[in-house]
Symmetry: C2
């Protein structure tokens, strides 16, 4: 038995004991030491770097560690095994990762414009953004020796008089605050109430004179990224917005690895803690702080997440989701309160969870479908959500069909060495000057902003341009030479998009063959899924009237380029619409509107779920789609033309 | 600034920092060091003894510490101030206190008999001991690739089919257990449900084959003692019973000191933790363990406690209770769930709190009144609950009047040097042999049990006999000499009830003049309250038809002796009835029966509350009653006769 001491930059060390030959990443996980490992220990992502600062460790050198770094003690923890006592420095990658992701959706003018359009279209589809919350101002007589009615009775009578309703229920958290609030407000208070059919629910009591806002949260819980809006439930106004990395990332990049991790001893608690305590609570705190409302001033929460995220959030066993016959614990549930999840707001604050429709199509898709409006039109539409999981919905006002595929985090800039979210410093579009073949970049941010990395739309452009100009081949391999092309000691090629002198970075902003391969697999997963779903309905791409693309890929997405590389079907460009983070927009609508909640349930119930993983054709289709644009080039005549034009 | 190190017998030391002149008890409290201090720092009880084992401490010697003890380092912490670094040994008195109280109500055959009689009388008064809980056995089809309905929908449909009800709600905690329970039971389960008017509430899911009991808890939360019954909600059977000291005791012996403590920074949390985490949770754990049911198998809790105990339990500001105009936050509340209090059982387990009727008459009295049956009879009855607070209810089926007085813990054996609860080793009755004047004791327990201390009924007998035989005078002073009479260095006399050779104790079992004085003040409080309440209604004692005496004083209470010393009115003995812990019996009924809950609310609403503390006559009446039997001897002709017979 050896002693392994994990050291951190900002916290106390953790002492662990391990046997010879144990895997270091496993030892770390067993001892609750957070090491970022999106590939979950397959030595493919290179993110689980730690530094050996004392003792010994048996560890291969991989392509992710340079000679110099190895000499400095850097190791990948997933390929390291215990061979003696060791002192390990763990970089705070998880928190670095989270801050890298800490960019609000709706942070650019373009995104806000898209959000407002989506909101408008929801209203036009007949969904009133109205709810049953209101703020009630009350004035009572102060008690005296001749009027010794207890506080709650005094208040309930005042509510009765003001509302004309006789059945009134008071939340525990309101009761707890009551004596202080009444006396602070000199028996004049503002009450947060819900006007329900059966009774009036009294959720909070705030002394008169203090600011009283009926706050609500719309949260999109993605496998990789979590985004939230703090909303005024009376006006619908967005009071604050924020995003962060999903703290569960350390337990694996995809839902399957998360589920596996959750089935270990104490795992369910660990995963719930990672999303609630480490992700949502700091996010909510930040939003409340920004909006200057108290952290318990949240009276409804609406969550849109995939089926696994929903299960891990609720703390219910998710294992049946990944095992045949793939059965979730719930599609719909109305029994979850915020306090059940450990979010200490009003004791009667409910968590609305957008309904799941299958093991791999969840509330993010029902919410997104609601936002897309395809359920309300006669035309045949395709809705595509490009996240860590890619999900598709096809149909119209009469039917809806859905399926999911695992795309990985590439669309959100994950799994890509210079990947980042669509925010300041992100290269969101890219082309090669036809004459000089030198890059022409567009960078998000103020004029003069230097590039930092690539967001999803930028990656599509880069791959498209390199392919069209013959710098990479159909397999994504670099087949050209030049000052922008490097090869490392393992022979892996890369293309420099911006030299470090021109970038806001300590190294070149580049895309590697590994990055390109990761992205091609992601786009291949999406395209093959579209293909299988349409053909199972005896449809082909020509019959699609509209395509709605959603996800964190960025509003700058060049649909033409996405088609050119074989990610989306080769149909006329005017049929494509980018609708931003539709899961978040849908959550916003469901948060605000009883009618939207009703509608999203209806959408979920009427959607037919197709399980891709049991489809015998899927693997073949996927392999065929992992080329630029596809092994069957006739599916992409536009690409053929572009290639011909550049020959 | 000096360093004070508190050392304990069974746990790690606590290091604290304090300024010169700070009070040691205060320093301990600030640092969460538990020192038993029932008198809350007034140097009167002598319980806050600690031992100085290093450094210095400025401390008076009081009558509670002998010369020898002082030399050994024993000090009263409430009269000690910081004068330098110090090392303090804190005896584990709080836990000793708790274990001293760890005797179930209903632990003797006599008590059980009384409980059964009370239960029978409740039923005879027309209260059906029935509720809406039941256990539903369900069998479902297992899911398959062709039948992928999620778990909760599968279960809800089965419940719908079995009950014929369409509106079904599932508790969060049931959802969380669902996938595991279904698979463990091979899709055969037992559900704990409530058949409510508006819907069926599904509270728990238990795999078929596992033991399923619908557990409920009836809890009497006294200022000094907490008693609980674990009950099968289907049958009413008592599965386990237990008592313990109220962990809040370290913050003061009476409600006023508890409230003051709760208003300090963090105080409300501290007091709630003391009753929930330190008192109820271990008690509940013990009961569940004894009954062999899982610790979350509690589906309803009914609490009967005084107004202050209820407020501190709920965690609501209790300060307005003690300040004019004495306003509680609530009389009735139905918004409290067990999880709100930190009792982790089913998320839909409600806490029924027997309603309060005034700032000093609470749910223990409404529950006790329900149990006494006085609300159902035409005769005028007096109900007296002898606890740390003494409460009275007078009336009949047409009216009820109530008031409270602060009696202190003497009736439960507290504040008495050899006091204890009515359990094995307690002297529960005492008389002097008319010839030899030697004590004749009756000791609870198996034959041969040696005496350990005095319970409430024993104290009454001792004081009565010593008074009648002229050993003490009307002021409670020892006015006789003999081998059983000692005086300490301060001249305080004591009477030896059992020499240590004959006792199960390391010292003599004795009663001191201080004990007698404490008890006389307690009985004086009770009698003066009775007197004032009756006269305010223009009644006198001769018009009382029945007296029901309740409380932890013990079933052996000799009513005749209680009358002789002037504690209870001098009326014919056959009018007196001892009904045990009526608060607990009432809680049991309310737990089991919707009708009882309804009735106790009605009782509470119809009861007129009289505030004694603002009554100008109270102090005079109290002083007059602090004699044996009373300054107005004509109120107690029977005592006169007894004294005459012994002269």
């Amino acid at each position: 038995m050896f002693t392994i001491e994990f050291r951190f930059e900002n916290s106390a060390p953790v002492k662990a004991y391990a046997h010879e030959g144990e895997n270091l990443l496993e030892v770390a996980r067993k001892n609750n030491v957070a090491i970022d490992a999106p590939c979950s220990g397959n030595a493919s992502c290179g993110k689980c770097r730690v530094r050996l600062i004392g003792g010994t460790l048996k560890s291969e050198k991989t392509r992710h560690i340079t000679e110099e770094e190895y000499a400095e003690g850097w190791r990948l923890s997933c390929v390291s095994t215990i061979s003696g006592d060791a002192e390990i420095l763990v970089p705070d990658i998880a928190s670095a990762y989270r801050s890298r992701m800490k960019v609000a959706d709706l942070s650019t003018g373009k995104e806000i414009e898209i959000f407002e359009e989506v909101k408008q279209s929801i209203v036009e589809a007949g969904i009133e953004l109205k709810n049953d919350f209101s703020l009630l101002e009350l004035e009572m007589d102060s008690p005296s020796l001749d009027d010794t009615m207890p506080d709650n009775e005094r208040l309930l009578r005042a509510v009765e008089a003001a509302t004309g309703r006789s059945e009134i229920r008071m939340a525990y958290s309101a009761l707890r605050k009551l004596p202080d609030a009444l006396r602070k407000g000199d028996f004049k208070v503002q009450c947060v109430i819900r006007n329900l059919a059966a009774y009036v629910l009294l959720m909070d009591v705030i002394p008169m004179g203090e600011k009283a806002t009926i706050g609500g949260l719309a949260i999109d819980i993605g496998t990789t990224t979590v985004s939230a809006l703090l909303v005024d439930l009376e006006t619908g106004k967005i009071l604050a917005k924020g995003s962060t990395g999903n703290g569960q990332i350390r337990y694996g990049a995809d839902v399957i690895n998360r589920i596996i991790e959750s089935t270990r001893v104490g795992g369910r608690k660990k995963l719930k803690k990672a999303i609630v305590d480490e992700t949502l609570l700091p996010l909510i705190d930040g939003l409340c702080h920004e909006a200057k409302i108290p952290s318990d001033g949240i009276y409804r929460i609406c969550v849109a997440g995939n089926t696994t995220m929903n299960h891990l959030l609720v703390g219910v066993n998710a294992d049946p989701i990944r095992m045949e016959p793939y059965i979730p614990a719930f599609f719909e549930t109305n029994s979850v309160f915020a306090v059940d999840l450990g979010i200490e707001v009003s004791s009667s604050t409910r968590v609305r969870i957008a309904p799941n429709v299958g093991s791999y199509v969840g509330g993010d898709i029902t919410a997104g479908t609601l936002a897309s409006g395809i359920w309300n039109r006669p035309e045949f539409s395709l809705f595509i959500d490009l996240g860590t999981n890619g999900e598709l919905v096809f149909g119209n006002q009469d039917f809806l069909m859905t399926c999911a595929c695992s795309a990985g985090p590439a669309f959100e800039g994950g799994d890509i060495s210079c990947g980042m979210r669509a925010t300041d410093g992100a290269i969101d579009s890219f082309r090669l000057d036809p004459a000089t073949k030198e890059p022409i970049l567009s960078v998000l941010g103020d004029p003069g902003q230097k590039p930092v990395g690539l967001c999803g739309s930028g990656i599509i452009d880069v791959i498209c341009e390199l392919f069209i100009h013959g710098i990479i081949n159909a397999k994504g391999q670099i087949v050209s030479e030049g000052p922008r092309i490097h090869r490392n000691e393992y022979g892996i090629g890369s293309y420099v998009i911006a030299f470090k002198e021109d970038a806001d970075s300590v190294k070149d902003v580049e895309i590697t063959e590994v990055d390109i391969d990761n992205f091609i697999r992601a786009k291949g997963a999406i395209f093959s899924a579209i293909n299988i779903m349409l053909s199972s309905l005896d449809f082909d791409v020509s019959m699609i009237d509209d395509v709605y693309v959603a996800g964190g890929i960025g509003s700058g997405i060049n649909m033409k380029n996405a088609v050119t590389i074989g990610m989306l079907p080769d149909i006329p460009m005017e049929k494509y619409h980018y609708i931003g983070n539709s899961s978040l927009s849908g959550a916003y609508a469901i948060l605000l509107s009883e009618q939207a909640m009703h509608k999203v349930k209806e959408i979920g119930r009427n959607m037919t779920y197709m399980e891709l993983s049991t489809n015998p054709r899927y693997m073949d289709e996927f392999v065929a789609a992992c080329f630029l644009p596809h092994t069957n080039a006739s599916l992409f005549p536009t690409t053929e033309e572009a290639l011909a034009a550049n020959r």
